[in-house]
């Protein structure tokens, strides 16, 4: 909807609705109409997501440069991530985006119990994602692949030391110089998945709030802005993962 028609409709709606006081209770007083309110908040969320793209963009830039410089180290570092857990997490997150989209539909069609179910499912899937991430991070800790805190390069100097990964990829031993760069790979791994996980935590917290509010019927009386805008945020966090997954997990994984 173009701005001018929104404004025109806004004005018309204001005229239709008559004076101040004859508007839905959830319409904020500085808006002339519900349409204007929805438009504005929706646009604001898209803009916010744009800032998030720029935010993650810095990390992606650093990643792409380092991967270009130290490709062998990134290959072998990536081989040490669990493709099983990574793929599971991807499936979990995509499903949670589906349940979230279903939730928005329920809100639109005023299905209160459906909405609550969808929000709870999304919440559960979000928690599952974080649990799996915890499992993965724990594995890195055990393997001494946590940069700066607990890190050795022995797995990369002598890949045979990790039989599972070696059996799969038969990586060649890296020279010490290149093996040292695997720490850079894992730094970026933790920074990017950590920043993503932080966004998940924020999302999950808001979901808890939303479940409470949904039970009170806040989103099924026609005012779906909050749910819809949160849905956008959740999809965005999903999309960031869709980029992270191949970049981090799928480096040279053929054969």
């Amino acid at each position: 909807m173009s701005d001018s028609t929104a404004i025109a409709n806004g004005a018309a709606a204001a005229v239709d609705e008559g004076h101040h006081g004859e508007h839905p209770p959830y319409q904020r007083h500085h808006f002339e109409s519900v349409t204007q309110q929805f438009d504005a908040t929706n646009f604001a969320m898209w803009l916010f997501l744009l800032t998030e793209i720029m935010f993650f963009g810095g990390l992606f830039t650093a990643y792409l440069i380092m991967r270009n410089w130290y490709y062998p180290a990134f290959v072998e570092g990536s081989h040490h991530l669990s493709i099983f857990w990574g793929t599971s997490n991807t499936a979990v997150l995509i499903t949670s985006s589906f349940t979230m989209a279903m939730g928005v539909w329920c809100a639109e069609t005023r299905r209160k119990s459906g909405l609550i179910l969808c929000l709870v499912l999304t919440f559960v899937l979000g928690i599952m994602f974080l649990c799996i991430k915890g499992i993965e991070w724990h594995a890195e800790w055990v393997d001494h692949h946590v940069p700066g805190l607990r890190y050795t390069v022995s797995d990369f100097l002598n890949p045979a030391l990790d039989p599972e990964v070696y059996h799969e990829y038969h990586d060649k031993p890296l020279s010490l110089g290149m093996a040292d760069k695997t720490e850079m790979y894992f730094f970026l791994y933790f920074a990017m998945t950590g920043m993503h996980a932080l966004h998940m935590v924020v999302g999950i917290s808001i979901l808890v709030f939303m479940i409470f509010r949904a039970r009170q019927g806040a989103y099924t009386t026609g005012h779906i802005t909050f749910v819809e805008n949160f849905g956008l945020y959740w999809h965005f966090v999903d999309i960031i993962w869709i980029f992270l997954f191949p970049l981090l997990y799928l480096v040279s994984r053929h054969g």
Binding site: W69, P173, S175, L176, G177, M178, A179, K181
Partner: protein, 364 residues
Amino acid sequence: MNHISPVIWQFLSHWLHNFPLFPPEASAIAPQMDALYFFMVLVSLVGLTLVVLLVVGFSILYSKERHPKAVQIEGSTLLEATWTIIPLGLFLVMFVWGALLYFRIYTPPANAMNIYVVGKQWMWKIEHPGGQHEIDELHIPTGQPIQLTLISQDVFHSFSIPAFRVKREVIPGRYTTVWFEATKVGTYHLFCTQYCGTGHSQMIGWVVVMSPEDFRKWLANSTSGDSLAQNGERLFASLSCNACHNTQPDARGPNLVGVYGSQLTLANGETVTADDAYLRQAILDPSQHVTQGYTPIMPTYQGQISEDGVIALVEYLKNLKTDYRLQQTLNTTEIPPQIEQKAGTAAGQKPAPPTSGGQGEVKP
């Protein structure tokens, strides 16, 4: 008034000498840069005068008392075009002129004499190829293009000689270069201009420009110890580089004779020129710089050599032009067989230093 009173003239010239508006022009490029600078000052003055005239002029002519009723004017495409195109044109002239200067300053000529500068908190270590070391002072001759190869041991610094109109950032992890040709004998300021911590304002010194004969005398008087290349040779041996980089046909590493300046094909197919920066990287991060046909078994010397050491090695390699010369190095530093064996097996283990023969005698 057809002459300025001698008193006023004396005052003016005394004043200009003691309150200069720009530093002395002591390099070949300085007058060229000053020319552009003065062009810019002129354009700025004209621009400023124009704006001031317009603003002050209109303010007077059209003040409320003089011009009580404003005339609404939408604009003028012609004027917009004028004050878009003329400034753009002037700026583009400055861009081209500046770019020419920039390329000139950062593209050293082939016959430039190279001097190494290592910056560290908070001093400048200057190393002439003949082995003369200076701290916070740079002695150079007039009339000779001089290239500085700069690197930092810690944080960003910046090497600035205002009288020469040159400045270059000094960065940890890679070489930067700048060149100049001094034209006037004298002593000029040397500053660090990139904030580097507590002693930033103490990281200053002098550039002493001498006539070529005076410079030769100075070089002779201040030689202490070996040249950079000799130091490099010593390091080459003590770090056991010759275990792999020797003249044997089945050597584990490429023969480094004549490598400086040559075109190398790397293991990944890339072709590079083996300049100072490349050689430094190859020593400190060899896994990235494996020559085609060799395996990546060279250990990294990161943390084992200081930047001064790298510079010495690079100087040695620059002067390593014949197999005979390399053989001299090898002859004076024997490596016992068991050490040689060890160096070839476990990757990532540094070869032990030679236990017999030691540093040997290094022939000059």
